[in-house]
């Protein structure tokens, strides 16, 4: 094969991957997910969760509250680091801070939804449940190891955590309808997929157009690849228009709303509706299928529009649109580039390599997954198409989960930032535990995929966590005696 042919093959690989990622079902999960992330950042007051993170909160409240804070508040790095530093230095201490730090990147709403849409709901749920359980475990372990150092931290008051702010009811409803929009668009229920009415548009040459597209972006269904449909082309054009109008309408939204603001927001609604339609091109034209999905999305979009126009305050609307747009601006270009590059790399990797290293659910395979995750730093969400590439090349789902948990969790950059706040020793001990628990998560999930019964796997998980909790409790008791004895002898 000459060089030119090889380069062309690489290029088509990238293009094909990109096309598949801009397909209707990915848009239907990703667009609402960006909006949910924006709404969570803009509309949930920090005080709702952080008031449970003060110094005097009992442990059984502060650890779950940290995990919850990681899920609800930490979609943006503007929140993660200050909140982490705040909990550590002035609040509940090292343990809950570590729990927060572990949970936040692993289960932020964007990553979770995207994993579910691209790879499968089972993996997304495993990622959520295991991250929560292990986040709390690691927090407890770290608090125990560095018990003495933890007592000495900042003696500030609880005032910083005393916020009692509640969410407005409109904001709660708005967030719930956004979640419904996501569910209607992504879940594969039969009543959502069924087309209740059909209309055929008499457009000439639709079949020729589809053939031309197939030639432009060749694909191989056997490898889980998707081609581009006329619907895909339409959606890509709409995405482009949304980008342009948002640039004019939302980028400078702090100076007031303008016509472009509403045009771009309307375009998003329209795009979601188009993506929810079933479209089948054939010789006689284009058949539109009005699916249950379409009606679900239609209702959600109408309610959201009404809430935005009539019920939300101007400040809420502005913050919501700005935060959503900021996420898109920050993540989407990197995602597009990432997906394209992953498509090119895929052409070069032989499936045998991956199957040899990580084709089975062994300790070594999970270790490789974690090490790869730590040393490769990918921008937010790009880890998902990479994981999907490994999956289609024959990687086992267990090591895949180990990789997916450790990649956003640990990168050289995040280790360094953590080290500046809690010190180098604590940071590296944390890294060790995260690596160990990621491997464990992969092994457990992999055992389940391999046909171990769910009950047995859950039992093992509980046994492990139970033993851990018991040992921690024992050590804790002994230490307390010692501390008590020391205090007495000093007196």
């Amino acid at each position: 094969m000459n060089v030119l042919e090889f380069l062309a093959k690489l290029f088509y690989g990238g293009l094909g991957n990109l096309a598949a990622y801009l397909a209707a079902h990915v848009l239907l999960c990703l667009l609402p997910a960006f909006y949910i992330a924006g709404a969570m950042t803009a509309l949930i007051p920090k005080g709702t969760v952080t008031r449970f993170l003060g110094r005097n909160t009992p442990r059984w409240i502060s650890y779950p509250a940290s995990a919850l804070a990681g899920f609800l508040l930490a979609v943006c790095s503007c929140t993660v680091i200050p909140l982490f530093a705040g909990i550590y230095k002035k609040g509940a201490g090292l343990g809950p801070a570590i729990t927060f730090l572990f949970v936040a990147p692993a289960i932020n709403i964007l990553a979770l939804v995207y994993t579910g849409g691209v790879i499968g709901m089972d993996l997304a749920i495993a990622r959520l449940v295991l991250s929560l359980a292990f986040g709390i475990s690691i927090g407890l372990i770290m608090a125990l190891i560095f018990r003495k150092a933890d007592i000495a931290h900042d003696k500030a008051t609880d005032a910083m955590f005393a916020g009692q702010s509640a969410m407005r009811r409109t904001a709660v409803v708005f967030l719930l309808v956004l979640v419904l929009l996501l569910v209607a668009g992504t879940f594969q229920f039969d009543f959502l997929k069924h087309a209740y009415a059909q209309v055929t548009l008499p457009l000439d040459g639709m079949d020729a157009f589809q053939q031309w597209l197939n030639k432009l972006v060749p694909f191989d269904p056997a490898r889980g690849e998707e081609g581009v449909t006329p619907q895909g082309v339409l959606l890509i054009i709409f995405l482009f228009l949304i980008g342009l109008t948002s640039w004019k309408g939302i980028n400078n939204i702090h100076n007031g709303f303008n016509a472009w603001t509403w045009i771009s927001t309307g375009l998003v609604g329209l795009t979601l509706l188009l993506a929810a339609l079933g479209m089948t091109p054939h010789a006689g034209g284009l058949t539109l299928g009005f699916t249950g999905k379409f009606f679900g999305v239609l209702i959600a979009v109408l309610v959201l529009g009404w809430l935005l126009a009539k019920k939300m305050t101007r400040d809420e609307t502005r913050d919501f649109l700005w935060e959503s747009w900021r996420f898109v601006k920050q993540i989407f270009p990197l995602l597009i580039a990432g997906v394209f590059i992953v498509g090119m790399i895929r052409v070069m990797i032989q499936p045998e390599w991956i199957q040899y290293i990580a084709g089975e659910n062994t300790f070594l395979a999970n270790l490789v997954g974690v090490v790869f995750g730590v040393f490769m730093y990918f921008p937010t969400l790009v880890e998902v198409p990479i994981a999907q590439m490994f999956l289609s090349l024959g990687m086992h789902r267990g090591p895949l989960l180990a990789y997916l948990i450790s990649d956003p969790e640990l990168s050289l950059q995040s280790i360094l930032i953590t080290a500046t706040i809690i010190g180098r020793l604590k940071a590296w001990v944390y890294v060790f535990w995260v690596a160990l628990f990621s491997i464990l998560a992969g092994l457990i999930y992999g055992a389940w995929v391999d046909g171990g019964s769910l009950g047995l796997v859950v039992l093992y998980l509980f046994l492990f966590l139970g033993t851990l909790a018991f040992v921690l409790w024992l050590v804790d008791r002994r230490n307390r005696h010692k501390v008590l004895a020391e205090t007495v002898s000093v007196d």
């Binding site: 803009a42 920090k46 952080t50 508040l73 943006c76 790095s77 503007c78 929140t79 680091i81 200050p82 909140l83 530093a85 705040g86 230095k89 002035k90 500030a156 005032a159 910083m160 702090h254 100076n255 400040d315 502005r318 913050d319 700005w322 900021r326 601006k329 920050q330 500046t420 706040i421």
Partner: protein, 83 residues
Amino acid sequence: MLTIKILGSGCPNCKKLEALTRQAVEGLGVEAEVIKVTDYNDIMAYNIMSTPGLVINEKLVSFGRIPSPAEITTFLTDTLTAA
């Protein structure tokens, strides 16, 4: 003369807040020094849980969100009349 501090590591929201603050200062025509605080230990000294934060003459007036230009102008004039 006002001393204005923008607390934040340099994330997009901090840059936006800085731009809006400079606009407000220009709009009022007051003399002010705008300082960016990026070190986390210095930021934590103001007891905030999320950036960006806005500090005028060592008093924290807003954090965790971007105030509108009108709000920033009010913060500035309030500080000026109090002084």
